[in-house]
């Protein structure tokens, strides 16, 4: 690419730094974006591009990069950073300016990367981040002396509170203006002199860091006393794990207890809406489409929004405080017991939200077989799309009772058990995989434990808003469109004259359900469940919406007479309900997950292997559950 072409575009700035130093928070502060930030290393695994207008009015392109300790990349996420910095990506010029973000509380570690980047000869700005934490610890850094010692401009910042951003923007303007005036800068030519640093290079960097610190660090401060005291309790061999399980247990209790009244309100609102629309429209196809197809289907999923938000409230709080990294540390022994890499914890944890970011987070694992093993088990972790399915069945079949003097809710306990079942099955599969197809020595977990921080109310609220937006967007797009199609398939062809059963029995959907029924009869599934599983391939929660539509069309009246849960309680046996729960612990019903597995492994084989093993496990688990439950309870 010619330099003329490069200069025609806006200047490109890369945010580079060690993991968990606040690059993404700075990216959000500069661009107004809402990329995920959390208080543990490895949140960003792919570059993100944004643009902003600088104070001088220039359009600037900014790239947020995964954290790395060195350009000597060892894992795929670190390779992304190295390749962007060195301009190795095709059709992409190297960044014109690098903003190196460093944690002011841990300069000894972070400055090494600054020195490595400085050697590339490109313009660098050092953003000295987390200055508030450094000051609270009594750490005093002389920014001017640091700038003089390093030979690069230094700007103190507190990215999560947007402090120092204006100064950084001014410095970016100055550096870009200076660089565009010099011949070497903004040339768009990749540095060709870079070679991977050797051990002696790294030792030399370390010595130079000591010299820089001697010149610029006035007071090293003391490590956070609060963090040390809290860790002494929460990482205690006897207290740590029980406390972690207590936190998770309380989380699932809260999912039911806190979400009950907003769910009742949404339910009442939807029932009113369905009745009002039903009364306003004349009998006919349009009324059936709107009430039985759209409102019954989409409404069945919308009702679970409060539970999704309560779950994410806890996850966001745990992430922002820094406890998630401790959880990884606490579970390392357990994970090591089944042969998993310690770093697998973060991808598996991310999979509780959604398997897609979980699978992508496996990029932080250096070893390919460890990474593949993590990818293969990530969808077994209970993603939040399963939450509506679990909640629906629990609400229908598990009495809303409390135990132990009102301390423990039975429904929350069942939900906790289902999540535990997902985790245990993932560990069991990992155990088998690591002893068969992914053999290899286990590598130890090396992970920086971040200091505890108070969660920012703004970030938590923004995170919840983002979850709600995503959930509602899906209800209004994918689920809405699929429910219209399902209504069509459940309505046509119309029942013949003199037919006695519900019209859906004679429809395309009814034919499909009855055709699949023999295959699913051994695991206790009805033909309505068979119908719901097909659109459920798009996403797991679509199965709930599909059940809503199918049962609405199965009613002799126009609309579903009671809530979906009460209809299921009357129509299904308990063994069937338990069997469906067992199916959803394992079922690989999510095209997004499968396509990201194909993309991340660059192989159809692993995607198909995942479909095969998860389907077999789902069918086997549902079969055993149904048979045992039928024998014990009488199906």
């Amino acid at each position: 690419m010619s330099s003329t072409a490069i200069l025609a575009g806006p200047p490109r700035i890369a945010l580079v730094g060690n993991p968990n130093c606040g690059k993404t928070a700075l990216f959000n502060a500069l661009t107004g974006a809402r990329q995920k930030v959390a208080n543990y290393p490895g949140v960003t695994v792919e570059r993100k591009v944004g643009e902003f207008l600088s104070p001088a009015g220039a359009r600037v392109q900014i790239i947020d990069l995964p954290g790395t300790y060195s350009l000597r990349a060892r894992s795929p996420d670190e390779e992304v950073t190295r390749d962007v910095v060195l301009g190795r990506f095709e059709h992409e010029t190297p960044p014109d300016v690098m903003v190196c973000v460093a944690d002011a509380t841990n300069l000894r570690l972070h400055l090494r990367l600054v020195l490595e980047l400085r050697k590339l000869g490109r313009p660098i700005i050092l953003a000295l981040n987390m200055m508030d934490v450094a000051e609270a610890r009594g750490c005093r850094v002389d920014a001017g002396a640091l700038s003089a010692a390093l030979g690069v401009p230094v700007v103190p910042t507190v990215a999560i509170r947007r402090h120092g951003v204006r100064g950084l923007l001014d410095q970016i303007d100055r550096t870009v203006a200076l660089a565009s005036g010099s011949s070497a800068a903004l040339s768009g030519v990749a540095p060709c002199g870079w070679s991977e640093p050797t051990a002696s290079d790294l030792r030399a960097y370390h010595r130079e860091v000591e010299d820089v610190l001697a010149a610029a660090l006035r007071d090293a401060g003391r490590p956070s006393l609060a963090t040390r005291r809290i860790d002494a309790a929460l990482l205690h061999p006897a207290i740590g794990l029980p406390f972690l399980f207590l936190v998770l247990f309380l989380m699932f209790q809260a999912v039911f207890a806190w979400a009950a009244w907003p769910m009742d309100m949404i339910d009442a609102g939807l029932t009113w809406f369905q009745g009002t629309v039903g009364a306003a429209l004349p009998d006919g196809l349009l009324k059936s489409l709107v009430t039985d197809g759209i409102i019954a289907g989409v409404g069945s999923v919308l009702i679970f929004l409060p539970q999704i938000l309560v779950l994410f409230f806890f996850i966001l709080i745990l992430e922002s405080t820094g406890y998630m990294a401790r959880a990884a540390f606490l579970l390392d022994r357990l994970m090591g017991g089944v042969g998993l890499h310690g770093r697998a914890f973060i991808p598996l944890l991310s999979s509780f939200a959604c398997a897609v970011p979980g699978i992508m987070a496996a990029r932080t694992i250096e070893n390919r077989t460890d990474r593949l093993a993590t990818i293969m088990i990530a969808p077994l972790m209970t993603c939040s799309a399963r939450l509506p399915v679990y909640t629906l069945i629990i609400a229908a079949f598990v009495p809303n009772r409390t135990m132990l003097g009102g301390l423990v809710g039975l429904q929350g306990l069942v939900m906790f058990t289902l999540y535990a079942a997902g985790i245990l099955s993932a560990l069991a599969v990992a155990f088998v995989l690591k002893r068969t197809v992914f053999k290899g020595a286990r590598e130890p977990l090396l992970m920086e434990l971040p200091s505890y921080r108070l969660p920012s109310a703004r970030d938590v609220l923004l995170g919840l808003f983002e979850r709600a937006r995503i959930f509602l967007a899906r209800a209004g797009t994918v689920i809405f469109a699929i429910m219209i199609l399902l209504w069509f398939l459940g309505t046509f062809p119309a029942a013949p004259d003199g037919a006695t059963g519900p019209a859906i029995d004679y429809s395309f959907a009814g034919m499909l359900g009855h055709a699949l029924a023999p295959l699913l009869a051994p695991i206790g599934f009805t033909w309505q469940i068979a119908i719901a599983l097909v659109p459920g391939m798009a996403a797991r929660e679509v199965a709930v919406a599909a059940l809503g539509t199918v049962y609405a069309l199965s009613e002799t009246g126009d609309a579903l007479s009671g809530s979906l849960a009460s209809v299921l309680a009357a129509d299904w046996s308990l063994p069937t309900a338990l069997s469906l729960l067992a199916w959803f612990i394992f079922a690989p019903q999510c095209v997004s997950t499968l396509s990201v597995v194909k993309r991340e492994t660059n192989s159809w084989f692993w995607m198909l292997a995942m479909v095969a093993y998860m389907t077999l496990l789902a069918y086997g688990a549902a079969f055993v559950t149904f048979r045992v439950a039928s024998a014990l309870l009488g199906g």
Binding site: A33, Q35, V49, L168, F352, S384, R474, S592
Partner: protein
Amino acid sequence: MIGLESILVGFIVAAAFLWVAWSILLPASVRVRLRRLAGHPPEAQSRASSGCAGGCCGCDAAGRRPLRSHVTPEGGSDGRCAG
């Protein structure tokens, strides 16, 4: 004779089918090719990383759509200066 209601319902069902076919059933590579043939730039976000209701924030190269900004074909934004 087909009434206005039937035509309206047929139109809604056809639109839903086209949307599902385009967004879910059609492989991403075919979609990209068709967009290029129609003279449009590739989508800012790939379907694979759009995530589920669980809240995947879109970890692909382009990232998510920033607040009060538009996403360029490459996925960038003209987000406001927060300084």
